[in-house]
Symmetry: C2
Subunit: 338 residues, 2 copies
């Protein structure tokens, strides 16, 4: 079996790896239908996040169960399933509170850019679809595994409600699906921050009512203009830099909410400044498992089409081209077919 | 008129100042019944917060209206009133959202350790009591002006609900009244962190079910023990140091809430660490004005007795002794009578 392995900055290889096998009785082995490159994969790809030697990549996946361990009860071979990038037993206290991505048995999936994948805690991690989906539905279903689930969590953490005024920082796939999520949650006004024509267009298609092309302080000033000087009720932070985080915090009104899902890199928040901003701050790794049934249903019933974020489709063995296209912002998100 | 003025570290003087007068038509002049020293007054008193020359002090107050400006409609001379430490017009969008302490017309009161005080935005800042209160009710009524309102906001920001497990970091008057607030909101378990005998006793009287004497990592470990390794649903941060803030964040379960009201001093939060803690964070200057009617009612009806935090009563001209006793932690909070 061959899969994607990161060797160092911009050095991703598609090479022979041992095929995964059942290790624990709670494991499942899945034949991947489609996988993809995540915005968060770009941090180590760009050398901005250290790796310990050659690192197998990929954490977004869906496909057919091939084999299950002896303890697995809720999924069986032949079923089409989708799982979160973070495994969960879905029974521990943190899972019960809806924070499956902080499950006491959490592991982060990291070998999904491959034709076959081992998923630990299969019962608590995987959700079967109502049947084997048609090929054209695969991109949208795949998004529920991380990028849509993460955009959804951003909107949920930012307390988006019917009638809310929302701002979205970041026009990557997560930000764009944050727009879609806010729209689904009934937001009245959705301000997308983007200076990229194609992404602006998709943001509008997903429900953005306004586009702000300015960044930093100018971007914040523009959002203040658009909200009569009040600020947004909810801001989705979907990047993870110091600039984007401060932009999000400053764009929220006092008492407003910032949902942050971009993994922060070298971000420091000054306590006193945050205090006087008066915002609610919540974020972290999205509890995708919590949202999977609902999101699968929205896709299955044709109510949403989040797969539109994939503007590049490649055979899995050209995974390196997918990384390159996203790194250079030529592609929003690259779908990979084994 | 004489009032308290801070000249430098541990140099507080009670000296002649000009008596306040109506400046704007929205002002009121109040004859102070009782005032007090706030934990936050200790930061500049200790030289840990710079001051620009001699600084009049005091921001907790209640008393009888003596005079109002021509535009004031909702309070009149002779009424007993209580106001927030932050003025508000109570009509701007931030006020409407319940964040009166971020009112567009906000000013911070800072001359209340005196017999007479000018309060700007009187209509939006002051709340009259049902009548002139008996003398023994004054301490409890005074707490609604800041220290109780702030403890209440800590519990509210930390999402305390009936049945919640709550931890309170800080055994100053705000922390102790955070315990009382959590109890009022129906918390089932309230863990107070204190190593001070008298404060532990008052915490228990206010509703604490458990006392943790350990601090830092050991204190967090103790809270984990007490919550079966899960962490608290709600943590009230009532200090404002790096250590107390991290203690609060670590003591909350993933998905739990940290309400922080201790004005942060040299606190820096690492974005990535916060991300993986998975907590909700909210705080800032308490919107006391929002809570005043409810808190006055709770005191007036005898349901709560927050004035118990005052364990030292001094004539106003001995204000310096009040600061000293609190600085040395001999007193929890000093009441001052003009």
């Amino acid at each position: 079996m061959r899969g994607a392995v990161l060797y160092g900055p911009r050095d991703i290889r598609f090479e022979e790896r041992e095929a995964p096998k059942i290790v624990a009785p709670t494991d499942a082995i899945i034949r991947i239908a489609v996988t993809c490159v995540c915005g968060s994969d770009l941090w180590p790809y760009r050398g901005l996040q250290p790796i310990q030697g050659p690192t197998p990549m990929g954490h977004e996946y869906c496909g057919i169960v091939e084999e299950v361990g002896s303890a697995v009860k809720s999924v069986k071979p032949g079923q089409f399933v989708i799982g979160s990038f973070a495994t969960s037993d879905n029974t521990c206290p943190h899972c019960h509170y809806g924070y499956q991505s902080s499950c006491v048995q959490r592991e982060f999936i990291s070998r999904a850019q491959a034709p076959v994948l081992r998923v630990p805690q299969a019962d608590g991690t995987l959700v079967p679809t109502p049947g084997v989906p048609p090929d054209e539905m695969l991109p949208s279903l795949l998004t529920t595994s991380d990028v849509l689930g993460t955009g959804w969590f951003a909107a949920d953490a930012a307390n988006v409600k019917p009638g809310s005024t929302v701002a979205v920082v970041g026009d990557g796939a997560v930000g764009l699906l944050g727009v879609l999520s806010a729209k689904q949650m009934g937001a009245e006004r959705i301000i997308a921050m983007s200076r990229h024509d194609k992404r602006q267009k998709l943001a509008r298609e997903f429900g953005a009512t306004d586009i702000v092309t300015e960044r930093g302080d100018e971007g914040v000033a523009r959002i203040m203009d658009l909200t009569n000087g009040i600020g947004a009720d909810s801001v989705l932070e979907c990047v993870g830099t110091q600039e984007s985080m401060m932009q999000a915090i400053h764009a929220a009104r006092p008492g407003g909410y910032v949902g942050y899902v971009g993994v922060p890199h070298e971000v420091e928040l000054n306590g006193e400044a945050l205090f006087f901003e008066h915002v609610h701050l919540h974020g972290g790794p999205a509890p995708v498992r919590k949202y999977l049934p609902k999101l699968i249903d929205l896709v299955w019933s044709g109510k949403i089409n989040p797969g539109r974020v994939f503007d590049l489709t490649l055979p899995l063995d050209q995974v390196a081209d997918g990384y390159r296209a996203m790194d250079e912002r030529r592609a929003i998100k690259a779908l990979l077919r084994p």
